[in-house]
Every structure is written in structure tokens, then in C-alpha cells.
Amino acid sequence: DAGVTQSPTHLIKTRGQQVTLRCSPKSGHDTVSWYQQALGQGPQFIFQYYEEEERQRGNFPDRFSGHQFPNYSSELNVNALLLGDSALYLCASSPPGQGVRSPLHFGNGTRLTVT
């Protein structure tokens, strides 16, 4: 049973470019959350998707957008990249039916470096 999978594992982009990160949730999970983890810091909540809609959003600018597909997989898009967007981007999924009580299951992340 595959857990949460993310692609690519590493990515190098230039300032001003756009990037798309991908996530497949754990089998049976329907909710996907995205986090940004800067070096030496805790994960910061970007947004959460459920039933193909953005349900919650953290304090991130509109340059950060996402999408969830009918098979529950998700994409994170970042436009007009800044040097400060360099971070580990983590995807997490959670199962249906448990609501706020369910923990998150994390992938290994995508390491984005902006030069």
C-alpha cells in the first residue's frame, strides 16, 4: 500500500519562473494539504483541498494556487518565483470520515531551490 507520493523530489528554478509540484495521496484518503517548510523551520500551512475545492488557506499570497483532481491527486502551482520560495514542500493526506480528529500522513516532499 503506497503512502503519499510526491514528484519531483528535487527541482531547481530561476527567479520569476513558474513551478508545478504533484502529489498522490495515500490510498483511501480524500483530503490533501500542502505545507511549506523553510530550512530550520516548522511546516507552514498553505492550503487544503477536499472534493476538488480549496477548503482552507493559510497566509500565503495568490501566487500559490492548487488543484485537486477527481482521483484525489493534487498539484501545487507557484508563479513568479522568489528566492524566498526556496523550501521543502510537503504534501499530506487524510482519510474520510474522521474530520478534525484525523492525523496527516506526509510524503517525503519536493525540495525546491530558486536561484
Partner: protein, 112 residues
């Protein structure tokens, strides 16, 4: 919105010594509390969780945490650490809005 404060950024300890990693939360509603562990170049793995019921929760590898509502704390403890426990530990809280918020992390370094 809920938030988490981890009081120690780094905790060095010798092997087989006890350790406590401190976590305080703030929330105006009922909370659900979690500890995650992160090894280098990996994602976060759930260590243990408090949802309701007994305030003392335990993991399979010897860690335990106690929910203290009056002190708004959820400290993580282990009576005897191993070299393999060296990692970054994150405390997290969920409120009724279903998004999980993390502390800044505590780097536990176990020395031989």
C-alpha cells in the same frame, strides 16, 4: 486560530538519559494534539496523538506525551533515549477548522 510554541530549538542529551521536549499551545476551542518526527531528507511521521480520553498517550517506541489542559501543554518524554532517536520533533495542533498548525521544531541530538 490555534498556534503552537516549542520552547527549545535544540536539546542535546546523552544516550540512555531521559529527555523532555516541551510544547505549549493556544486555542480558544477544543484541540487535537500531535507529535511528529522528521529524519533528514524525509517527510514527517506521526509519533503519537491526543484526541480525547486519557491524557497520557504513548508511542510504540517508548515516547509518551501528556495533555495538560490547565497549563495548555503537551510535552513529549522518553525515559531512556537511543542514538536512533536523533531527529527533528514537531508538535502540532488542530482546532475545529481542520487545518494542522506546527511548532518550529526541536532538534534532539543523542550523543554516545
Amino acid at each position: 486560530a490555534q498556534s503552537v510554541t516549542q520552547l527549545d530549538s535544540q536539546v542535546p542529551v546523552f544516550e540512555e538519559a531521559p529527555v523532555e521536549l516541551r510544547c505549549n499551545y493556544s486555542s480558544s476551542v477544543s484541540v487535537y494534539l500531535f507529535w511528529y518526527v522528521q529524519y533528514p531528507n524525509q517527510g514527517l511521521q506521526l509519533l503519537l496523538k491526543y484526541l480525547s480520553g486519557s491524557t497520557l498517550v504513548k508511542s510504540i517506541n517508548g515516547f509518551e506525551a501528556e495533555f495538560n489542559k490547565s497549563q495548555t501543554s503537551f510535552h513529549l518524554r522518553k525515559p531512556s533515549v537511543h542514538i536512533s532517536d536523533t531527529a527533528e520533533y514537531f508538535c502540532a495542533v488542530k482546532g475545529n477548522n481542520n487545518d494542522m498548525r506546527f511548532g518550529a521544531g526541536t532538534r534532539l541530538t543523542v550523543k554516545p
